[in-house]
Symmetry: C2
Subunit: 624 residues, 2 copies
């Protein structure tokens, strides 16, 4: 049979397939993931791809999913298009599923700035040899040359580096590369390397989440992300949620194992990132880590015990710059680790990093960031003021606390649609369903209320004639995936208590946003852009998140889902010493509102326990 | 027989002795050392003491050594006074021999200043417990309290210290003591201790000499020296002088043993100082070390190889503040070590410390410091300018390079007098002579030329009828101590080549001073005070040092022998963060004149190879 080569862009993965294979099937062969909500029936229209080179035969009926312009450009549905030619196929972002569904923070972009001043800079120096007229010390010779290139600072040097200096200079004809790092008080030379090594300068951006840890390997010179890996926080073995881990940590000798767990995670991620690309660990000079306050404490081995208890005091909210090796992280022994500062016990460096990533503090327009994890963290402000708060959203949107909830990993149902009584879903990795992750749960609630299966109170209509509505011990539940379709052989369901939990979660998040806006005396219409971040999965249907009352009802074009903003913020700080300084200013200038003891929040919370809300006037665009 | 108790002041050492014992004998019994040049004959007048309490019978003839006022006060000669009563006897400084003849730097005084800001300060803090209204982080709470007491700085904290913080605060009702250190860029909290520990804060001042290492244990609160210990530099095993140690260090794996040796010295000294006084090593928070550039390099493990070779470049002249433990010194693990900055390869932190100790940079008057070790280092200036130079004096004044020369330790002849053809000498510890140390050699030269035994060219008058003048292999030598008086049974002599060496040494030192003064265009008469420091022994007869042409012929009251100025300077920096900063300014503002390649120096040197000098006009007060 005739063979054809299909190349999938943007990752340039290619595969040879038989004639008449569909593009969707070819993608599966190539391990390239394309959205596939309807399972290849050509009804969901999610697998849109663009034929860039070559001819392909598209099924006529698929054309209904495209505009005339799109059809002219060459858009087709991958599942409805067969191959008769060598093809180059571009998968547009909205059809893409990243292999790791873990949020990898490709949201806001930082590089390409003109004032490029990464946290660790490498400067190549060709020093004049000493003479009797110019016999200053070696380190002064290096500092003098650095001052010419980087400005009039005093340059400190670590003892270890100083001990190597003389030989390094003289063995290589006074041609060396200095790696210089900014700390809170000035500049420090952390490495002197023979000859010109400026081309090799790598860093790691880290998002340390309660559930997931993600690391990006960054080429500091270009600012480019050259790899990303995510993994599940090994601390989960000591408790799924932050509170139970704190309790464990505060028991006898409890802290060390939790620190050890996250360090192990990080070392594994770094190893994976570097080994694949044959980059020696020694060429990694800096790490910037963002995490919530408790995660930052665990990372640095600080006791989190007082965070948990009234009056919620962390050991530190600004963390010292340390050598990564001092906490057991294997990069260059002189490589440093910066931890993004926190604002308060429950508003961490992750939200500060997020504010950085979104540039909220850079513009006069009011912008907001909602980072929904186990805690919903919200920041609103502009270049003059910043307020923030956090609300215990509960783990529902991260897949906890619901019967079939799960994290956004392979087999999680991430999209659900009910149309004309037909329920379709899509799983991560197109695997048989195992459970439902955050975005899937939001879809569920939306589809259930939209199709009149549950009421605005989240209760099932008991008189409904729907085979998917069943009862277990008198508790009503709705079958999303029947047992014969699932990995486990058990149905994936959403129960009334699940919905109740989700309503409480979304109610807490919305009440927090609303209270914060009321506190500062602004209406939602004053928000120019609302960034939404979190671990729902790679895709969040903003319109549905609004419709269930999780997000405020502002024009959809004003809401932007940015994935992992914490990771992006960490990368921004890795690539800009100014950004790192600004993160400190942001953390200091942000006013944290403790909602726990704030009566308006409690009132807003109760009012928000409805779909979309008790006060429909707040959600004019929602039609059900 | 009747017994009496004699108490020697200032050290309050007492001893019980039989009636009729002399005070000198009692002192010997009590291990209290009193000068004793004539061996108890009552002819040198060196053992002057003051009877403070009790009655004693003084020999009539001894009264010739005292003025009327002195006799009324109670001055007697210890060797000529017998005991018939309980006595309190004060030994005045000029009669005292410290047990350790090593210079212990009691020269200039620094403490008692109103702006008392030691390098490591302990601040007791009673913090308010956190409340919901005041729930800043623990470290911010500490910093806030420190700002109230120490001023508006940002306070960094080491990771180790931060890790202990939460428990320390909560286990002790928010009452803690913070130890705060100044570094080049700001303040750092190095320890947080439970409750009020401000009463216990100790430091070590170190003088790291090529030959001798001296450590002072300092109570940082009072500024008082509470102990001093000296020892011989174990590096001597790798070479007596700096150059041969450098050569060793620059061989394969040569550096580490030299660093190890000095660290071992330091640990032994600290152990001795603390064990005796039952001070835990943990209560020592800071060390300030002063040494020549090579010694500072060895201390920190920096290669000294380029110091030795044209163009004489050190690895560093400003050294990083480090944790003492990082180079293996056993004090508190958070305790720091500062090394006084150097000026150039052959003008080290010891001279910078000396300039600090003498306050040369503090006044408009021109002052000078001559520190005579193996290298003669000279600094001259005022509060507006400072110049310095070094000249290779050779080891003669430290006891090297002469036949019977030795370091200023027990058994060294430290004073020599020839009067009416009678030669008398005094040894350190009143022990049988072993050799001659620096001050003894200066005395020798002076007495020999003064008594017409040698000429102004340092050559023996061959026609002299003096039994002490003998010849060995045709080389004339003068017997200072005959074989039957010495420890070894060999005569202690000074030979013509010895004298030649000493003239070269003194010539180099004087030529350096003279060249430096000419370079800056000032006459000797413009020097307001000339401080002389060095390891000659505890005593240096200034008038004899002038008369042989070692020191310039300025009024004697303008010349002050200050012993170990390097150690004093180190202590000043330990007790004052401002002083440490000033030491950096001093090292930077000092202009170093390289004499090696300076023609006027060579001319001056040749002219100075005479006793006192070719140009007698330079030494108008010298009568021989």
């Amino acid at each position: 049979m005739k063979k054809h080569r299909i190349t999938f862009l943007p990752n340039e993965v290619s595969v040879e397939v038989d004639e008449d294979t569909t593009i969707a099937a070819a993608a599966q062969r190539a391990d390239v993931h394309i959205n596939n909500l309807c399972g290849g029936q050509g009804v969901c229209g999610e697998c849109r791809v663009l034929i860039r080179k070559g001819e392909a035969t598209a099924d006529e009926k698929a054309s209904a999913f495209f505009s005339k312009e799109e059809l002219e450009k060459g858009f087709v549905l991958a599942c409805q298009t067969t191959i008769h030619d060598d093809l180059e196929v571009l998968i547009p972002p909205d059809s893409r599923i990243e292999e790791a569904q873990i949020m990898t923070g490709e949201g806001a972009e930082a590089s390409g700035r003109s004032d490029f001043q990464p946290l660790v800079r490498k400067i190549y120096l060709e020093l004049p040899s000493p003479t009797l007229e110019d016999n200053i010390s070696d380190i002064e010779r290096v500092s003098r040359a650095l001052r010419k290139k980087l400005g009039w600072h005093s340059y400190e040097i670590s003892l270890y580096c100083l001990q190597q200096l003389s030989d390094n200079l003289r063995d290589h004809d006074w041609k060396v590369t200095a790696a210089v790092v900014k700390d809170k008080k000035g500049y420090r030379i952390i490495r002197i390397e023979p000859l010109d090594t400026t081309a090799r300068n790598f860093g790691i951006a880290l998002d340390i989440g309660t559930t997931t840890i993600v690391a990006q390997l960054v080429d500091i010179n270009s600012g480019k992300v050259i790899g990303v890996e995510g993994t599940h926080n090994l601390q989960a073995g000591f408790g799924e949620d932050v509170i139970s881990r704190m309790i464990y940590a505060c028991g006898k000798d409890g802290l060390h194992p939790l620190q050890e767990a996250v360090i192990k995670n990080i070392n594994q991620l770094i190893e994976k990132l570097t080994q694949e690309r044959k980059i020696p660990l020694d060429e990694i000079n800096a790490i910037v880590a963002a995490g919530n306050t408790t995660m930052s404490h665990f990372l640095l081995g600080l006791t989190p015990c007082s965070i948990r208890l009234d009056p919620y005091v962390p050991t530190a909210d600004v963390y010292p710059q340390i050598l990564a090796k001092d906490i057991g992280i294997h990069i260059n022994p002189n490589g440093i680790l910066e931890t993004i500062p926190s604002v308060a016990s429950y508003v961490g460096g992750d939200i500060v990093a997020g504010v950085m990533a979104c540039g909220i503090a850079d513009h006069p327009e009011v912008r907001g960031l909602i980072d929904i994890g186990t805690n919903g963290e919200i920041a609103i402000g502009n270049n003059e003021w910043l307020v923030c708060c956090s609300a215990s959203a509960g783990p529902a949107f991260e897949g906890g606390g619901t019967r079939c909830g799960m994290r956004a990993i392979k087999g999680a149902i991430e999209k659900v649609k009910i149309s004309n009584g037909q329920l379709t879903y899509q799983t991560i990795g197109n695997a048989p369903p195992v459970g439902i992750c955050g975005s899937g749960l939001i879809d569920c609630i939306y589809e259930l209320v939209k199709n009149g299966i549950i009421g605005a109170d989240g209760k099932f209509h008991r008189d409904l004639n729907d085979a998917r509505l069943t009862y277990e011990d008198d508790v009503p539940q709705y079958i999303i995936a029947p047992p014969d379709e699932t990995e486990t052989g058990n149905a994936v369901v959403i129960s009334e208590p699940d919905i109740d939990n989700l309503i409480k979660s979304k109610g807490a998040v919305f009440a927090a946003i609303k209270s914060l806006m009321d506190y500062i005396g602004l209406g939602f219409d004053k928000i120019e852009t609302l960034y939404v971040a979190g671990g729902f999965g790679s895709f969040l249907d903003i319109s549905k998140a609004v419709a269930i009352g999780l997000l405020p009802d502002i024009p959809l074009e004003k809401i932007e889902f940015i994935g992992n903003s914490s990771l992006t913020g960490a990368r921004v700080c890795l690539l800009s010493e100014t950004a790192l300084e600004r993160s400190l200013n942001i953390s200091r200038s942000m006013t944290n509102i403790e909602l726990t003891h704030h009566q308006p929040f409690m009132d807003e919370y109760v009012a928000a326990l409805f779909l979309p809300h008790t006060d429909r006037k707040l959600f004019p665009s929602v039609s059900f």
